[in-house]
């Protein structure tokens, strides 16, 4: 928790606001720029297959 407290002290309200805007920006990117639902599927492939 010591780590969290230190990090929390570094965070400003302005930074939280900015991140919220970016969260919305990414959501918009996927909903308006892509024709299909947002899926960036990542898979761990088995080399032997």
């Amino acid at each position: 928790m010591r780590n969290l407290t230190k990090l929390l002290n570094e965070i400003t309200i302005e930074e939280v606001k900015q991140v919220n805007e970016r969260v919305n920006q990414v959501a918009d990117q996927y909903s308006t720029e892509s024709e299909l639902p947002q899926v960036l599927r990542m898979v761990a492939f088995d080399q032997n297959l």
Binding site: L4, I13, V39
Partner: protein, 282 residues
């Protein structure tokens, strides 16, 4: 990405849900679950209950997860069908007991893994596939699909969990910073680049993810596990390093579609990999 940076990303995303003081890790976890409920489809809500990692046995949740993991888009260049879930209680119990044991091994061996995995992952579900050993998707952040192979060693399992955790942390990093200038452009085949692990032309988002994952796996081996002689899940380190450096150059050639944050991540990976002596990992 670094443990401190990942924690800060989680704090920022959590505070965006509820700006009141975060009291402890459980409180942070609860707010990350809230964030997942907001960004993931509603039908996945059953994955984000409670403060512990859920091992999914409920048939309706297994069905919903399988459906989301099988949604196709222009960004899916390879068919990775999650073919069949099982609700045979005995089989699920056997598999989930194994996963719990392997996660514990990862927690014991990998510094920082315990905290980050606990915060980032809501649930694990088992479903069979002939194509892959498991995966994560940005349409279901915090949900981990597993279909391990019986020949995986303890080290393969640890690499698998670190691999998927890296994808999940990168999905969160993308929400914090924005990674791509245009999703439409990265869907186009002419903008594909070479990927680090599969070493073939793939959509740029896959390439960025493959570079980050490959670098984390090499660093995990270099700093914790040692470089394996015959790894089953990922290629040997020398091959990963060589292909990842090629992938980084290939991705940088498409810099118009990457944000400054993503280019910075690629440079960090390049610096790490160039400082590892590849000749000793033949």
């Amino acid at each position: 990405m670094g443990e401190q940076n990942i924690l800060k990303t989680m704090l920022l995303l959590a505070l965006g849900q509820d700006a009141s003081e975060i009291k402890d890790l459980e409180d942070l976890k609860a707010r990350i679950q809230k964030f997942y409920l907001k960004v993931n489809p509603q039908e996945l809500a059953g994955n984000h209950r409670g403060s512990k990692l859920s091992f999914i046995e409920d048939e309706s949740i297994l069905k919903a997860n399988t459906k989301i993991f099988n949604v196709d888009t222009h960004l899916n260049d390879i068919q990775n069908q999650v073919e069949q879930y099982t609700f045979d209680k005995n089989e699920l119990e056997r598999v989930y007991t194994l996963y719990q044991r392997m996660i514990k091994k990862a927690q014991e061996k990998v510094p920082g893994f315990k905290e980050i995995f606990y915060l980032a992952m809501s649930s694990i579900f088992y479903a069979k596939s002939n194509a892959a050993g498991g995966g994560t998707t940005s349409a279901a952040i915090g949900i981990l699909w597993c279909d391990h192979r019986e020949n995986w060693s303890e080290l393969d399992f640890i690499e698998f969990f670190v691999h998927e955790l890296t994808h999940t942390c990168l999905f969160l990093d993308e929400r914090r910073f924005v990674h791509y200038t245009s999703i439409k452009e990265i869907e186009r085949e002419e903008n594909y680049a070479y990927s680090a692990i599969l070493n073939r032309k793939r959509p740029l988002d896959k390439v960025v993810h493959s570079i980050m994952v490959a670098t984390e796996i090499v660093l995990l081996r270099e700093n914790v596990l040692g470089h394996p002689v015959s790894p089953k899940l990922h290629p040997p380190s020398q091959r990963i390093i060589k292909n990842t450096l090629i992938a980084i150059e290939s991705a940088k050639a498409k810099r118009a579609f990457l944000t400054a944050r993503t280019l910075n991540l690629l440079n960090i990976c390049q610096n790490h990999l160039e400082n590892i002596n590849v000749t000793v990992h033949a």
